[in-house]
C-alpha cells in the first residue's frame, strides 16, 4: 500500500479562510458574508484586507442567504459563511428559493460540520446537511478532507458558475494532500489502488479510511481508497470503475446514513452495478457533547468501524 504522510495537523476551516483570502486578492468580484462567526470561520484576513467586500450580517442567517443571492445580480461572487447547521437546515427555504431555484452564483460555506464540532453538542452538530443540500436541483456539494484540499476547493468554487455548498470542519486533522493540488469539482481522487474492496470516503473520514486500510493490509486485505470530495455531482465513472474491479464497497462519512455519501453511492450501484455495500455513517441519532475523537468512536464512524465494515462486506462478496 502507498505510504501516506503528513507534516502537521490543521483545521479545514483554516484552509477555507486561506483560500478565501487568495480569491480576494485575485478576483475583486469575490465578496464575503458572515453571520457573527468571522473568527470561527477564519474569515478575518479577508475581512481585514478587503473591508469593502466583507459584509457582516449579524445573527441573521436567513437574511445573509437572501443578501448573497442579491449580490450576484451585477456580477459579485458571494461566499456566505456560518456553522453548517445554520448554513443549511436553518435556512433551507432561503437556499431553495433565492439561491438554488433562482440559479444564483452563491457559495454557501459551512463550517463546524458533523459531530467533530465536539463540545457544543447536538444543537450545533448537523449530520443531515449533505442530504438536505444534495436534494436541491443544481446544487454542488463538496466536502474536502484536509486543510490543503479545502483551500484548493475554495479557490475552485470561486471559478465555478452556480450554487455550491462547501462543507468543512472545526478540528485539526492530518494535512496530507499536496499543497499545490488542482481541485477539480466532481472528480473523485484515487488515493490507493487495491483489489479486494473499494472504500469511498469523504471529509474527515478520508484519513480514517487510510488508517483502516493500513490495518487491513496487515490482515492481507487490499483496499482501494477513493476520496469523494464532491458528493454532487458524483463521479459515477470513477465509482463504477473501481467497484467493477473490487466487487465490494464500504462508504465512510461524518454524516447521517440517510441522505449521505453512502446513500448516493448505493443509489448509483443498485441501478448500474448491484454490489454488497456497508456504510460507515451515523445511524439515525443526534450527537452529544464530547471530544471529537471520542465522539467519532462512540457514534461508530472511526477507523475501527471502517475496518469492521470492510471485514463484514468481504463476507458478503
Amino acid at each position: 500500500m502507498k505510504k501516506f504522510e503528513y507534516k502537521d495537523k490543521k483545521d479545514t476551516r483554516s484552509g477555507f479562510g486561506a483560500g478565501l483570502y487568495e480569491l480576494g486578492k485575485t478576483n475583486e468580484n469575490v465578496v464575503a458574508l458572515c453571520a457573527d462567526l468571522t473568527g470561527s470561520l477564519k474569515m478575518n484576513q479577508f475581512a481585514d484586507e478587503f473591508p469593502d467586500r466583507f459584509i457582516q450580517c449579524g445573527i441573521s442567517e436567513a437574511n445573509m442567504i437572501g443578501t448573497a443571492a442579491g449580490l450576484t445580480i451585477g456580477g459579485k461572487i458571494p461566499f456566505a459563511g456560518t456553522f453548517a447547521n445554520f448554513a443549511s437546515g436553518r435556512v433551507y427555504d432561503q437556499i431553495r428559493q433565492s439561491v438554488a431555484y433562482s440559479d444564483k452564483n452563491v457559495k454557501i460555506c459551512a463550517s463546524h460540520a458533523g459531530i467533530t464540532l465536539g463540545e457544543d453538542g447536538a444543537t450545533h452538530q448537523i449530520m443531515e446537511d449533505i442530504g438536505l443540500m444534495k436534494m436541491l436541483p443544481g446544487m454542488v456539494v463538496i466536502n474536502p478532507c484536509d486543510y490543503n484540499q479545502t483551500k484548493a476547493a475554495t479557490i475552485a468554487i470561486g471559478k465555478h458558475e452556480g450554487p455550491v455548498y462547501l462543507r468543512f470542519g472545526r478540528p485539526k486533522v492530518p494535512n496530507f494532500t499536496p499543497e499545490d493540488q488542482k481541485f477539480e469539482i466532481g472528480k473523485a481522487l484515487l488515493l490507493n489502488e487495491g483489489s479486494d474492496v473499494s472504500i469511498f470516503a469523504t471529509g474527515h473520514l478520508v484519513w480514517k479510511a487510510i488508517e483502516a486500510a493500513e490495518i487491513l493490509e496487515q490482515k492481507g486485505i487490499s483496499c482501494e481508497i477513493i476520496n469523494i470530495h464532491t458528493i454532487k455531482p458524483l463521479d459515477a465513472d470513477a465509482v463504477l470503475k473501481s467497484v467493477s474491479k473490487t466487487k465490494a464497497v464500504v462508504t465512510a462519512e461524518e454524516h447521517m446514513m440517510n441522505g449521505g455519501l453512502g446513500d448516493s453511492i448505493a443509489q448509483l450501484l443498485s441501478r448500474k452495478l448491484p454490489t454488497p455495500i456497508e456504510m460507515v455513517a451515523v445511524d439515525d441519532k443526534f450527537g452529544e457533547s464530547g471530544k471529537p475523537e471520542d465522539l467519532l468512536a462512540k457514534y461508530g464512524i472511526d477507523t475501527k468501524d471502517i475496518v469492521s465494515a470492510v471485514e463484514q462486506v468481504l463476507k458478503r462478496k
Binding site: R53, N63, G74, Q94, D103
Partner: protein, 280 residues
C-alpha cells in the same frame, strides 16, 4: 412631467389582463394584484429607468423585486405591456411549459425576473444584496421592492430591515402593500402589525405614506422617495391600497386573495375596466 391620464389608462388595461389571466386558468391571485396595479404601472411606465431588452445584471438600471410573488399576474402584465415579452404570452399564465409560472421564477428565463419569489419574506434581503452590489459597482441605479403587509409577519423581513439600516443601504425604496388583508382575514385579526410606521422608523428607515390607488399621489410620493435616496437611510413607503381595486365586487374583503372569477363574474369585472390598449 408624468402623463397621469396615460398611466391611468395603462393601469386599466393591466387590470383587464389580471382578471382575464386568472379567469382563464381558474387560478391565481386577483385581489392584491388589482390593489397594486397603479403602483406597478407607475413604476414601470414612469418612475424606473429600465430596459425591456433584459439582462440579469441590469447595470445602470433601476431594479424591481416582487417579494410577494403571488402578485405574479400583475407583474407579468406590466412586464409584457412594457415590452419585456409579447402580450400573447400572457395567455400561457399558469399552464404547462409556460415561462409564466404561478409564482415568478428565473428558471424559465422570463425577461424581467431576477429572482424567484413566492415563499414570503425573502425579497427584501435579495434587494439589499443587489443594492450593495450597485454601490460596489458605482452604479447609480435604484432598487425597488414590493411586499405584502401580511408578509411582514415573516421574521426575515425584520432581519433585512436591521441589516439595511446598519449598512446604510440608501439606494433602496421598499414598498408595503398596506391593504390590511391576508388569506385568513384582516391582518389585525391574524397577527397585527401594530404601529407599522413606528416599527420601520425604530428600525432606522425613512418612512413615507401614500394612497396606492391614487395615481397622482403614487407618482408624487415615489418621486419624493427618490429625492431621499443617497442620504444614509433605506426608505419604505407604506402604501394604502384596496384589495380588488377597480372591480367593485372584489373590493373590501380578503375573499378575493386567491380566488378566480367565474364566467359571469369575469364579464361583470371587464364591464368595469376599460380596454385601452387592446386585450392580449
Amino acid at each position: 412631467m408624468s402623463d397621469l391620464n396615460k398611466l391611468k389608462s395603462t393601469a386599466s388595461q393591466v387590470r383587464r389582463d389580471i382578471v382575464r389571466m386568472v379567469h382563464a386558468q381558474n387560478s391565481g391571485h386577483p385581489g392584491g394584484s388589482l390593489g397594486c396595479t397603479d403602483f406597478l404601472t407607475a413604476l414601470y411606465f414612469d418612475i424606473m429607468n429600465h430596459n425591456p431588452d433584459f439582462d440579469m445584471d441590469g447595470k445602470d438600471q433601476d431594479l424591481f423585486f416582487l417579494s410577494n410573488g403571488h402578485l405574479s399576474a400583475l407583474w407579468y402584465s406590466v412586464l409584457a405591456r412594457s415590452g419585456y415579452f409579447k402580450t400573447e404570452e400572457l395567455a400561457t399564465f399558469r399552464t404547462l411549459d409556460s415561462r409564466l409560472q404561478g409564482h415568478p421564477t428565473t428558471k424559465e428565463g422570463l425577461p424581467g425576473v431576477r429572482v424567484a419569489s413566492g415563499s414570503l419574506g425573502q425579497g427584501l434581503s435579495v434587494a439589499c444584496g443587489s443594492a450593495i452590489t450597485k454601490k460596489l459597482n458605482r452604479d447609480s441605479g435604484l432598487v425597488f421592492t414590493l411586499h405584502g403587509d401580511g408578509e411582514l409577519q415573516e421574521g426575515q423581513i425584520w432581519e433585512a430591515a436591521m441589516f439595511a439600516a446598519q449598512h446604510k443601504i440608501d439606494n433602496l425604496i421598499a414598498t408595503v402593500d398596506y391593504n390590511g388583508q391576508q388569506i385568513d382575514g384582516p391582518v389585525n385579526d391574524i397577527i397585527s402589525l401594530g404601529n407599522l410606521r413606528a416599527k420601520w422608523e425604530s428600525f432606522g428607515w425613512k418612512v413615507l405614506e401614500m394612497n396606492g390607488n391614487d395615481m397622482e399621489d403614487v407618482v408624487k410620493i415615489i418621486n419624493q422617495a427618490k429625492t431621499l435616496t443617497g442620504k444614509g437611510m433605506p426608505i419604505v413607503i407604506l402604501m394604502k391600497t384596496e384589495m380588488g381595486m377597480g372591480v367593485d365586487f372584489m373590493m373590501g374583503s380578503h375573499k378575493w386573495h386567491g380566488v378566480a372569477p367565474n364566467d359571469k363574474e369575469l364579464k361583470n369585472a371587464l364591464s368595469q375596466l376599460e380596454e385601452t390598449i387592446g386585450d392580449f
